[in-house]
């Protein structure tokens, strides 16, 4: 069921000096009573700076408040608003409509994630994979012990892993990954990149236990360096780099 609606003059929050508008197609699906997904269309005016998230919120405000979308920070920090925008996984708050160079903007829920409703998806599998690789410093001693000083780290040691610590768990990489498209048991680029983040951290002593976890037929060996995860990452984490560097430990190139 397609519905094309325009904003009533007295209700719009976008100044009407904007003569530009796009057709926003939102995938609607409620697993409880819909058999399949359908698109609803809305005509939304936009400015050069209007993001896809703002367009979706305009729809919620003026047309259909029941559109389910997850969002929070609006500044690409929280990782909540990941979705497929014109066929590619992106953060809605970080994607400007003007950048898409298209009169039609299609938003769908991220692939490879079960849907809660409309654009909101379940993150349990991502969180489980993340937990599996032990995303915390593993060592026998602790900074909390008496007389113990903080664990020192040089700027060079910090540079080895800081980019991987930028991960906001948005799930875009898992959505883009070709292995995740078919393999239910694959841990995913997010978890593997985080495994490298801790292995590369000079304060961590749990390298062997983490390598044992990922040295699995559905672990690191199912990555084939397609690089799609790095193409879509909004924070420059570059999971593909982390995974190949991590693989070096298992292949014996790094110790």
């Amino acid at each position: 069921m397609a519905q094309v609606s325009s904003i009533a003059d007295e209700q719009t929050s976008t100044p009407l000096s904007s003569s530009k508008s796009i057709t926003l197609k939102i995938a609607r699906y409620n697993p409880e009573h819909d058999e399949s997904s359908k698109f609803m269309e809305f005509s939304i005016p936009y400015e050069k700076w209007t993001t896809v998230l703002e367009a979706i919120l305009e729809v919620k405000k003026h047309f259909d408040h029941s559109v389910a979308v997850r969002y929070s920070c609006r500044q690409a920090t929280c990782g909540s608003c990941g979705m497929i925008i014109n066929g590619k996984p992106r953060l809605a708050c970080f994607t400007k409509i003007s950048e898409l160079n298209s009169d039609i903007v299609t938003v769908e829920p991220m692939n490879n994630f079960p849907i809660i409703r409309d654009l909101a998806v379940k993150f349990e599998r991502l969180f489980d994979s993340h937990q599996k690789i032990k995303p915390y410093l593993i060592r026998d001693d602790s900074e909390l012990e008496a007389d113990a000083k903080e664990f020192l780290q040089s700027p060079q040691e910090l540079e080895q892993y800081i980019q991987f610590a930028n991960c906001i768990k948005c799930g875009l990489c898992n959505s883009a990954c070709p292995t995740m498209a078919t393999d239910s048991s694959f841990v995913g680029p997010q978890a593997l990149a985080q495994a490298y983040r801790y292995v590369a951290d000079s304060r961590d002593k749990g390298k062997d236990s983490r390598l044992k976890i990922i040295d699995d037929s559905h672990g690191i060996w199912r990555c084939h360096f397609a690089g799609s995860c790095s193409q879509v990452c909004p924070k420059g984490v570059d999971p593909a780099m982390g995974i190949q560097l991590l693989r070096g430990y298992l292949l014996g190139f790094r110790s």
């Binding site: 066929g87 078919t182 690089g227 420059g236």
Partner: protein, 143 residues
Amino acid sequence: MTQDERKEGIKGMANPGRYGIERVAYWLMRLSGLGLLGYFVAHIYETSNILRGQVGWDEFLDLTQTTEGHLFLTLVIGMCVFHTVNGIRVMLGHGGVGVGKPARPDYPYDPASQNYRHKIGIYSAILLAAVAMMYGLVVMFGE
């Protein structure tokens, strides 16, 4: 694969269009690998005709040394060269060679692993495959 997991399925694995040349290379690698496996099995069967003596061997040559056979072999040459050259690039990448060094990321957050070295490797593989195919055509049709 359950419906609930909403996996893209083979369509997602096979669609090379959205993520740059590296995803295209992944897709071509799979395609050429399967193609070469099929050819390899057929080649083992084809060469077993030597056991049927001169007559059997010549019979099979009549089947394969045709225009269609040569064109098919040209395709195999292309797949073989691409799979080999790209395979070496992927192996180097898997070993951490040419994937860049970790560094503090900065806007526009371009991924260091998707760098010109690997892109050149992929385009070289495609180019070398094309050159090999042309050479193969010259050898097979030039006689």
